[in-house]
């Protein structure tokens, strides 16, 4: 333990700001991946263990677009769409066959996707680590706020992340299609009875979830090494966030992702050897006290 380091930081506004920004960066990428997973799990009831692979594909597609066109902005547009299309293919040809089946079938199928997609990534992009440079627009000296340096690219991630949180919430809560998605999560049979094409809704939800995961990969690509299996590091954390936040609850997912980031950021200061344990302890407590999640609907 290094409590002195933690308390010293808590006594310094600049240090608090620095750690909070670090937490937000972790939270934003996690939120994007976890929100997509939350939608897929909450609406379709599918435990998509391959969701981390969609995040990985977002990063690889970004690498390909940047390598060919030298334009990160283009990658920001094309890569998530590419992952969305990949998601549609997976859902239409494979995932739909396990709707309503026991969880084990979904687990086996999506685990198979992990193995196949990781090896496909290796075959297509090779075995060596790849990198995407930070876009030129953000390559400037960091801004000094209260003695804490804030990189421009992190500002972009925070602002874009905030916009996405609001945008996704608005889409799901206030638009007609969002209400259809909520209805599909609540009672798909009734939705079908009123004439909605429920399979199309399911495909759309899976596509949306995939786009969000791909977007996470795009944003993370200038910061992280792009390698096969990079999705494995994020999928467990995403499931934890969904479990604690409550399935299908976007605001809950965001708040828990933020909590996750803060625990990591400040935990590293005071408890460098086991800061990872805190989020797992929190998950265990939530599962015992409120299995539907902190912000999920309580189950009867």
């Amino acid at each position: 333990m290094d409590l002195a380091s933690l308390f010293n930081c808590l006594a310094s506004p600049g240090c608090i700001l620095g750690q909070v920004i670090g937490a937000l960066i972790i939270a934003m990428v996690l939120f994007l991946v976890a929100s997509g997973l939350s939608l897929i799990l909450g609406v379709l009831g599918v435990m998509n263990f391959a969701h981390g692979c969609l995040y990985m594909l977002g990063a690889y597609y970004t690498y390909t677009v940047v390598a060919h066109f030298g334009n990160f902005g283009l990658a920001l547009l094309l890569a998530p769409i590419g992952v969305g299309i990949t998601g549609v293919i997976l859902e239409r040809f494979f995932i739909k066959r396990v709707y309503g089946l026991p969880d084990l079938y979904q687990l086996l199928l999506t685990y198979a996707f992990i193995l196949v997609l990781d090896d496909m990534a290796k075959l297509i992009w090779g075995i060596f680590d790849l990198s995407v440079p930070v876009p030129g627009w953000f390559r400037r000296p960091p801004i000094d706020i209260m003695g804490t340096l804030v990189p421009f690219y992190y500002l972009f991630i925070m602002l874009a992340g905030a916009a996405l949180v609001l945008g996704i919430w608005f889409f799901l809560a206030k638009t007609k299609f969002g209400k259809i998605i909520n209805a599909a999560a609540t009672d798909p049979e009734m939705l079908m009875c009123v004439g909605m094409n429920v399979p199309l809704v399911y495909t759309s939800v899976f596509a949306l979830g995939s786009v969000l995961a791909g977007l996470g990969g795009v944003i993370a690509s200038p910061l992280r090494s792009i390698v096969p299996e990079m999705g494995n590091s994020i999928i467990i954390e995403s499931f934890i966030i969904v479990v604690i936040g409550g399935m299908g609850n976007i605001i809950g997912t965001f708040l828990v992702a933020l909590l996750f980031g803060l625990m990591r950021s400040f935990g590293i200061l005071g408890f460098p050897f086991f800061e990872l344990a805190f989020i797992y302890i929190l998950m265990a407590v939530v599962l015992i006290i409120r299995p539907s999640g902190l912000f999920g609907r309580a189950t009867v």
Binding site: I127, S131, L149
Partner: protein, 437 residues
Amino acid sequence: MEKSPKRKTGRKGLTRREFLKTSAVSLVGLGAGSHLSPRVAHAQKAPIRIEGISSFTGRSAVTGVTTRDAVLMWAEGLNAQGGLLGRKIEVRFRDSQVKIEESTRLARAAAASKEADLLLDCCSSLESFGVKEVSRDLKMLTITGTSKTTELTADPKTFSPFHFRSSPSNIHDMAAGAKYAADICKKNGWKRWAMIAPDYAYGRENVMFFVRFLKIFYPEAEIVAEVWPKLYEPDFTPYINKIMGAKVDACFTSQWGGDIVALLEQGGLYGFSDKVKIFSIDLGDFTAINPVIKAFGKFPPGIFMGTRSNPIVPDTKLNSDWFYAFQKRFNYEPSGWSQQTYTACLFYQKAVEKAGTTDQNAVRAALENLEIVCPWGTPPGQKCVMRGRDHQIILYTEAWGKTISKMPYVEEVLTMSWDDIIKVESDWLKEKGWLKT
């Protein structure tokens, strides 16, 4: 009436009985001979089988591919010259998937089949302990080419007569690194240090040795921060914030592969390498150099790094010829793992030539204290030795330098003295009771 005399068989030629008897014997003899002699001939031409175990799965595939290619390059070169002892070299690699149970199973299968003449262990550190146990248990000649955990060879309780290591030992790497860092820091007055290393055996051991030896060579050094990101950690920002908040002069890191790339990428946003002098043991590997160049547009100058496979480290024709031959053959630069595994093959080749046989017991005996000339050997002689007491390679080039932005990406290279390395290593071993005075 007199019986007719028996017909004499003195007439020329064979009787039918004799003919049949002779034919039968001849056929049996021919059959036996044709059965035996090809086997004798086949045994003379039987290939020498090298069985490799490494990971070809996911992000660890870079280890498997770069080590396999090094072995293939050695085998191809030797086969082009007629093989070893007139026998062709056959190479086969198996995927351990970074699973201890799988690597152990593959090692047992190789040993039990009695077809492999040499087992090359190119697995992770954890797996190598299991493979070494198989080597001891089943007396399978094994050379480890990748794992660097010191205990693999330093602990006499786990000594195996059939196990050898051609990869560096962490203690050697850290003794050299700490000496280099101490010399530079003394000149510049850089006293405040941070440590950032992956939270598993490799990282923990590196920091333990680096700190120990740094304090020996530079007692004024203070370790003011230690952070332990998990292996393959994607987010280094909180760790970078902590280190920069501690106002350190210098930072040692044993992050490797994608982790050192991510650390530099995220640190670059803060100007980390400008504010803190970084000493990295594994940045010099081209598996890290190339993605860093992609991320930054150029290799960032001014970082102090240990050198792995590099055309000018050591700065000899033998080394640069090997480096560029590998690059030409496989279209990528050799990794440190490639260099270490190739050296394992050279040791094996020399031992077989010395023993005059591939019998594993004889080769094992020939390997002990064997001295070879290899691209990785310390100049001027470029010799490496397989130390007899612990079967650990020594006298390979341990060099550090400062990064520059163009090939070979390092300058002001200093090759560390093995006298210094052996001295501090011996002191530590004696403290542990692993080396008698």
